[in-house]
């Protein structure tokens, strides 16, 4: 049902047409958006507003999250309902850096402590905030925090052979627990307000169009690199082992592959991609709060993948962009309708579109191929 492109996957020879088109579109976005924003005058109909840039940036970040989910779900058969947790951890790590950059420009003017800490009567910076004023350390944490959580959690879960829906349920509980934890003021992460009012990143003003454009281009590049990395993995022998695990786990074990270790590696890698996506999301959106951990976000990410076509990588990204575009439109135009539409989408896709949009296109192409 899933291995749609396997048909032409010969020995090392992969024609990734969908992927190439996707990368081309990405390059186009990375060139066109800056031009349309910076060069085309604001009066022109083609001009892209700062709001538009933010929106596109958001879609690309969600695309990365979808990519992460597809890698683990589409290829390894592991349905994680906790990827919002990794996304949010990456976002919080970046958010901590951005908060420290505010420095004395906060409302309370404290040179070290962020506003919420002054407000909550913190006397000094909690230890886990040390060093996060350095960009390099923040970036390290963006990768390390989701990776560590995924490694520890995955090690326990996979080791005891928690599979299928059991895994889904406990990952959902994981992100739920983290959401509750981050809602607490004494966690030291700003409670339910989270982090906001960022000023600048690496001394570039976050509110200037130029910075926004650059962030967008970086996001596009990160997405492209993540895509190529994922593609390289799934095209390698490791990727074939992943699909073997997905389709017949114990069989894979009996030809000698350490299934748990494979799952763990892929899970951690997927978590890191999600974390980087979160880190790119925060400076563009300008806020991170505990509701990002909400289990519904993880489940939404899964439906993006399902809509686009799981097990295709670029399909997942396509799904993320399409669904979120629809969300932007509907929540603006008919806010009442959005949840109905999303709910119906879940049902429709599972019942009638199990291979997603890409699967539909492929099936169509195959039909045509047969006719000729």
């Amino acid at each position: 049902m899933l291995g749609l492109w396997h048909g032409n996957a010969g020995a090392g020879l992969h024609k990734d047409r969908g992927g190439s088109s996707f990368l081309a579109v990405l390059v186009l976005v990375a060139i066109a958006v800056p031009v349309l924003n910076q060069v085309v005058p604001a009066s022109s109909a083609l001009h892209i507003s700062p709001f538009g840039i933010t929106l596109i940036g958001k879609y690309l970040c969600y695309g990365m999250l979808a990519l992460a989910v597809d890698l683990i779900w589409g290829y390894c058969g592991i349905l994680s309902l906790g990827h919002a947790a990794f996304f949010s951890l990456g976002g919080y790590a970046m958010g901590m850096y951005l908060m420290r950059q505010i420095g004395p420009r906060g409302v309370y003017g404290d040179p070290i402590l962020p506003d919420f800490m002054v407000f909550l009567n913190y006397k000094s910076l909690p230890w886990f905030w040390y060093g996060l004023n350095h960009f390099a350390i923040a970036l390290t944490m963006v990768v390390l925090a989701p990776a560590l959580l995924a490694a520890v959690f995955g090690w326990f879960a996979f080791r005891s052979r928690v599979t299928g829906v059991y895994f889904s349920i406990i990952t959902q509980a994981l992100t739920y627990a983290l959401m509750l934890a981050f809602f607490r003021n004494d966690m030291g992460f700003g409670g339910n307000n989270g982090f906001t009012d960022f000023k600048d990143i690496l001394s570039f003003d976050l509110h200037s169009d130029k910075t926004r454009v650059v962030l967008l281009v970086i996001t596009a590049a990160a997405l492209a690199v993540s895509y190529m990395a994922c593609r390289a993995i799934v095209d390698s022998r490791a990727g074939r082992v992943m699909r073997a695990i997905r389709d017949a786990e114990s069989r894979t074990r009996f030809i000698g592959y350490p299934v748990e270790s494979f799952k763990l590696w892929v899970f951690v890698f997927s978590a890191v991609i999600a974390g980087i996506a979160g880190a790119l999301y925060v400076p563009q959106i300008g806020i991170i709060n505990p509701s990002e951990f909400d289990p519904i976000n993880s489940i939404e990410a899964v439906i993006w993948v399902a809509v686009g076509g799981r097990g295709t990588l670029y399909g997942a990204i396509l799904g993320a962009v399409l669904v979120n575009y629809a969300k932007t439109y509907l929540t603006g135009a008919f806010p009442e309708v959005w949840l109905y539409a999303l709910g119906a989408l879940f049902v429709f896709v599972t019942l009638f579109l199990p291979r997603g949009i890409i699967g539909l296109v492929k099936a169509h192409e195959q039909e045509r191929g047969k006719d000729q």
Binding site: I170, A173, A177, A181, I299, L342, G343, V349, T350, L351
Partner: protein
């Protein structure tokens, strides 16, 4: 800890008072008319008197020996004593609420018609007067033939001990036969004896009080070991101080013990809700292999059904909840059957897909409820017979709504067990869950059984919603806040095992409540999650693993 005698007991209390008053009426009928008129005139003085005068009038009334005096004084205490503006006649009203007010004649205590509220004036009381009234009423109650009335009276008196009441208690002690009342009186006398000049009497009193668990008693004893600001003890006698310290410690130990029991009970009642939710999940997940993410919303539907039923019959709140149980079962059950027929039956054997599709359904249900009932929380009224609390002793009271939920859970659980074990449909369900192909070959209509099973699981979710509506506000997000916990219960207990759900739910509830005081609600939840993850290291298939279809993952 202050659970006053609940509303549920008041009518009973009043009835007993009325009976007690009615008995001597016949005996005294000869002198009736004379005392009637003097009683009425004394009563009439209340209309104009100042608060301090009113106390004197009450004193005189209580000595009149008139048979209806108690009823009148109780009414006065409860702000139900009025006079009619046009003829200045005094009446008791049945209830101070509503309009017109139902009148009761103060002499005969019979119905005397009704009158609009604005044609009557209330005879007011203040704190001091109410205290006098309470003591006076208590004096009467001490002579009541009913032990419960006497007990309540003594407890009332303990709150404001003075020489007069102590004397009364001492008299009563000699003739009292009921051991609980006796103990309470002894407590009162001992409290009074604490201020005695004789050290031995005080030590004896402390020894008596040691066996109490009342907060008031503890506080009185604690006064004996307090230090004044200059660091010296307020109590000079060291033996008394030592005995008091010891007594306070003993009382504290017992109070902690009882509060632990209360926590345990709270945990059990919270766990009962989880069990109710998890039973439904266990059926749909365990028997059918369907992960129903809309289960929480089916429960929410049940809670809203309760709200709707109650709105439809505003005059019968007490019965509405009983009507709501089958109604919720039907509403949620039918929704479940509809889900099964239109969506889930196409997804059997693909649990991850059922998870996604039913999640979609949950979103639709949430939004539907928001569209119909608005996004605001609705509160379901707790019927009178479920409010208040069962007071077991001074330190332990169990609220009725939680008690009923525990009992309700036991009933539902036993019913489900019976349905599954003893009925034809239960047999069919088990047959299909164990071997679908074989069941089909034997002529069981598996499609029908699937729909019925899913309907059953969903209906139980609705019933759980009725129970939940008694504990919390009803809102569109009600389902979400419980669903993750109940999935944890199912994973912990073992998928598809009802006993697992029962033990899993109860223990998660108890652990949550035990941890909450130390760690707070959030950390308690996180701890439970971590514990669960560690637990499945040891038992990946839960407490009671199932060897069925859903138990096997490839």
């Amino acid at each position: 800890m202050k659970h006053l005698p609940s509303g549920g007991h008041k009518p009973l209390f009043m009835l007993l008072l009325a009976l007690w008053v009615a008995v001597p009426v016949r005996a005294q009928s000869s002198s009736q008319s004379a005392s009637d008129s003097s009683f009425l005139s004394t009563l009439g003085e209340l209309r104009e008197a100042s608060y301090s005068d009113k106390a004197g009038i009450v004193e005189r009334l209580s000595q009149s020996g008139h048979p209806s005096i108690r009823a009148v004084l109780v009414a006065f205490l409860e702000d139900r004593l009025y006079f009619r503006n046009d003829d200045q006649k005094i009446f008791i009203v049945k209830s101070a609420e509503g309009d017109p007010l139902t009148l009761i004649d103060p002499l005969s205590l019979k119905d005397a018609g009704s009158a609009p509220a604005d044609s009557l004036t209330k005879i007011g009381t203040n704190n001091g007067l109410r205290r006098t009234l309470r003591t006076t009423v208590a004096h009467f109650a001490l002579a009541s033939p009913d032990a419960a009335v006497r007990l309540a009276a003594v407890q009332d008196m303990l709150r404001s001990l003075d020489d007069a009441t102590v004397a009364l208690l001492r008299d009563r002690m000699g003739v009292e036969t009921n051991s609980r009342v006796k103990k309470e009186i002894a407590t009162g006398l001992a409290l009074a004896a604490l201020d005695d000049s004789d050290t031995n009497a005080r030590l004896n009193a402390i020894a008596t009080l040691k066996s109490s668990v009342s907060q008031d008693v503890r506080n009185k004893l604690a006064v004996l070991i307090e230090k004044s600001p200059d660091g010296s003890f307020t109590e000079h006698d060291e033996t008394v101080r030592r005995a008091a310290t010891n007594a306070v410690e003993t009382i504290d130990r017992w109070r902690t013990f009882y509060s632990d029991i209360e926590t345990l009970f709270f945990g059990l009642s919270l766990g009962s809700v989880l069990v109710l939710i998890a039973i439904g999940l266990a059926i749909t997940f365990g028997v059918m292999g369907v992960i129903n993410m809309a289960h929480g919303e089916l429960m929410m539907l049940g809670a809203y059904t309760t709200f709707a039923v109650q709105s439809a019959m505003p005059g019968h709140i007490g019965i509405s909840i009983l009507v709501a149980i089958p109604a919720a079962f039907i509403v949620s059950g039918l929704t479940g059957v509809l889900m099964e027929r239109t969506i889930i039956r196409f997804l059997y054997g693909r649990p991850l897909e059922t998870l996604l599709a039913t999640f979609g359904v949950s979103l639709v249900l949430q939004q539907t409820v928001r569209s119909i009932f608005s996004a605001l929380n609705r509160s379901v009224v707790t019927p009178e017979w479920m409010s208040g609390s069962l007071r077991l002793n001074d330190a332990l009271a169990i609220t009725y709504n939680r008690l009923y939920i525990v009992i309700f859970t036991i009933i539902v659980f036993s019913l489900i067990l019976m349905v599954l074990k003893r009925t034809r449909i239960g047999l069919d369900i088990r047959a299909v869950s164990q071997n679908r192909a074989m069941a089909k070959a034997m002529g069981i209509r598996t499609e029908w059984v699937d729909a019925a099973t899913f309907g059953l699981g969903s209906g139980i979710a609705g019933v759980a919603g009725v129970a939940l509506s008694q504990l919390t506000n009803v809102g569109p997000n009600l389902g979400q806040s419980y669903i993750i916990d109940s999935f944890m219960v199912v994973v912990f207990g073992g998928v598809g095992n009802l006993w697992g759900s029962l033990i899993g739910g109860l223990s998660m509830g108890v652990v949550n409540e035990l941890l909450e005081p130390f760690a707070g609600a959030v950390l308690a939840k996180i701890f439970v999650l971590v514990a669960l993850i560690l637990f499945i290291q040891i038992r990946p298939r839960g407490l009671f693993p199932q060897a069925g279809r859903a138990g096997e993952d490839k």
